[in-house]
Symmetry: D2
Subunit: 134 residues, 4 copies
């Protein structure tokens, strides 16, 4: 069981959303942020560097948005939909864009395949959480 | 002239938005993130700690959202409105909430007055940028 | 297998350190950062709030140091020991302090027990990596 | 007067270090983080992209280390020298490396000149603070 889930299960108050969905989203966001950071570095090592620029930019944005959302969702104060809602929407949008771009490179670059998968899982987990919150 | 503005003025490509508005938003976001982090620490030193909990939580979220938005706006790739739009909306919402709460404590705690001001400036700068982008 | 490990295994260049140790450290750092953020929020919900202030402050620092180190270690450029070395030392120190403080509260607050465990695992993983790098 | 300085001047407790040095370091760290993020994006837009890879990697690390140090120094709990000391050393090392690399490109790329300046100012401010703390 992930730390995110354990911390939700020991939270000294009510958790506003289904703990399973929330923990899955937090874990997926945290994984996606790390994968994107690592993929940028891998992209920078490739021969066809100019073709990787879009992927690098999207991964950089994706990492920042996912990191912030990991933090906000890890706090119960987050369940102000005026904040968590658009934040999740930003995540869904950047994970979609970044996942699409990574998949374009997946055949040639295994690291992009891995990162693209992290983006897809994250996009999906954020969608499910947003649906449950609204 | 801030580094943000200098870097926009030396950008080796077209900047998608008015550079003045963008630099103001980046600077305000960066200032607001730092002010919120410092205000959390100041709040934790106050006697009436239980009354400061809401302020602490909002400042924590505000710092994270503003930091991520500083980073995303600092990249030209950000001008995908599907990402930057909801991100700015999340900023506006959390800066509004956090600024309101800080102002409630401003008479008794000078640091909350200062932080509240950083939130107001940031909220305003994000609104102006979002208006210019849409 | 974690994304961190998968991305190391698909890295288009040489990885400067044992990939298993490195992936373990990255995963532990990422987990610890999230656990600390969540524990701050849980601490803020406790009745004995004034007794939790030290724990909150340490968790805040621990989260920031671990997040930055996750990112730096996820890049191969990190293997400049002049940067990664002190960064890992800062992690080890703050994870030690934060883990000690969390354990003091572990009997009364389950969330502190969980967070303390994340700190211990992280401290250990950072020590092993630092040993392997020097 | 910067928000960092205003928040130190209204801190409800003793500040462990000279407030002027501390505020200067916090402001320089925050500026340097933003400059490095923006410079990465500018580098990615250059024709001689392969020659910019080292600069990009160093800027990415520099941004992460400076952001975390901004946060830790913004909290009074930071004045545990076991944590703040190595963190400042990591900053000094990465700002030195990143500043050197940016200066190598300064004649051809104005944005690197600006970013290099932010790194130098930050390195200097961190050195002065570390001297004052030890």
């Amino acid at each position: 069981m992930s730390y995110a889930r354990q911390l939700l299960d020991t939270y000294p108050g009510a958790v506003g959303v289904d703990a399973g969905l929330l923990a899955s989203a937090i874990d997926a966001l945290s994984d996606c942020a790390q994968a994107c950071i690592a993929d940028v570095d891998a992209d920078l090592s490739e021969q066809n560097l100019t073709e990787m620029v879009t992927c690098i930019r999207l991964c950089l944005d994706c990492a920042d948005v996912c990191s912030a959302t990991t933090a906000v969702l890890s706090r119960q104060a987050a369940y102000d939909l005026n904040v968590a809602g658009p934040l999740l929407q930003a995540c869904i949008a950047i994970c979609k864009n970044c996942g699409d771009e990574c998949e374009r490179h997946a055949r040639h670059h295994e690291h992009c395949r891995v990162c693209g998968q992290a983006c897809r899982v994250c996009e999906q987990a954020c969608r499910q959480l947003l649906d449950a919150m609204t």
